[in-house]
């Protein structure tokens, strides 16, 4: 199967689970950064109570 093909996709080489994990890591990090850490007044005000409740450094 894949061992004979000339070009291997990333999924073939490291497995679908690892690819999904890397994608989840990138998207998840962006979301958590936006909610918890981004230095934007709008994001800070909207996520204010969430930031405090989760113990993110705030203010």
């Amino acid at each position: 199967m894949s061992a004979n093909t000339q070009t291997l996709s990333l999924t073939d080489r490291i497995g679908a689970r690892t690819v999904a994990g890397l994608m989840a890591l990138v998207v998840g990090s962006i979301l958590v950064f936006g909610v918890g850490l981004a230095n934007s007044q709008t994001l800070h005000d909207a996520a204010h109570d969430t930031r405090h409740s989760y113990g993110f450094p705030c203010h």
Binding site: R17, L25, H48, T50, R51, H59
Partner: protein
């Protein structure tokens, strides 16, 4: 299969994030609002009008136009989805096996408990969860220390729990303790308008509500991920 794994994580995150809003409105947000009243000088001793007006206002008016409650609902959904994707990433990249049924939920709960240790308990040991009106050290310093501590706790916990070599277990413990020995940013003046009772109740409430969140998230995540078939096309 990749899409279904991501959707499974997203579903767990949105459910846990949704459950977090009522939990916060029971335990943490009433304390935040009480603390804000002291911060703005509305409670306790009276400030003059100029000082009260100069006190910075936050979250009084919604920036997204939905009101404070719905802003928090939305922020909790995004936080839930983000934390769920990161926890799923850890499980998938580490190759945690999730056999269908009870075992998947049990392993998910353990993952959630581990995440709670790394994201909530470990940073709180040197940088306690703080209500508005607390004395604060520089925000950038605290955020850097927080991120380093979360990352170090995760790496350390992995070495300690998942690796059989005793050298790595000891190293893991050292990595977990290191940010605390280094020391977190501490404000120069510890005095605060906020009563100590509110502050201590808040620290416990924050740790308790987030424990609820991470256990719910972990259990759901383990269950949902275990339901994705190995040979799924999408």
């Amino acid at each position: 299969m990749i899409v279904r794994l991501l959707l499974a994580a997203l579903a767990a995150g949105l459910i846990a994030g949704m459950a977090m809003t009522p939990a916060q409105y029971v335990k943490t947000i009433p304390l935040i609002m009480q603390a804000e009243a002291y911060e703005n000088g509305e409670a306790g001793h009276a400030h003059d009008a100029a000082e009260a007006g100069a006190a910075h206002e936050h979250a009084e008016d919604s920036m997204l136009g939905f009101g404070r409650f719905w802003d928090t609902v939305l922020a909790n959904l995004v936080a839930g989805a983000g934390f769920a994707l990161m926890l799923a990433a850890v499980a998938l990249i580490m190759g945690v096996e999730l056999p269908a049924g009870r075992e998947a939920i049990m392993r998910g709960l353990l993952l959630g408990a581990g995440a709670w240790f790394c994201v909530q308990l470990a940073p709180s040991l040197s940088l306690p969860p703080a209500v508005p009106g607390f004395p604060y050290a520089d925000l950038g310093d605290r955020q850097s220390w927080w991120m380093i501590t979360v990352a170090a706790s995760a790496v350390g916990l992995w070495c300690l729990v998942m690796r059989p070599e005793w050298v790595l277990k000891v190293l893991g413990l050292v990595i977990i303790v290191a940010p605390h020995l280094w020391g977190s940013p501490v404000p120069e003046d510890l005095a605060s308008e906020v009563p100590a009772y509110i502050a201590s109740a808040y620290a416990a409430a924050s740790l308790a509500t987030t424990l609820f969140f991470w256990l719910l998230l972990g259990g759901l995540l383990g269950y949902f991920l275990s339901r994705v078939p190995e040979e799924a096309a999408a």
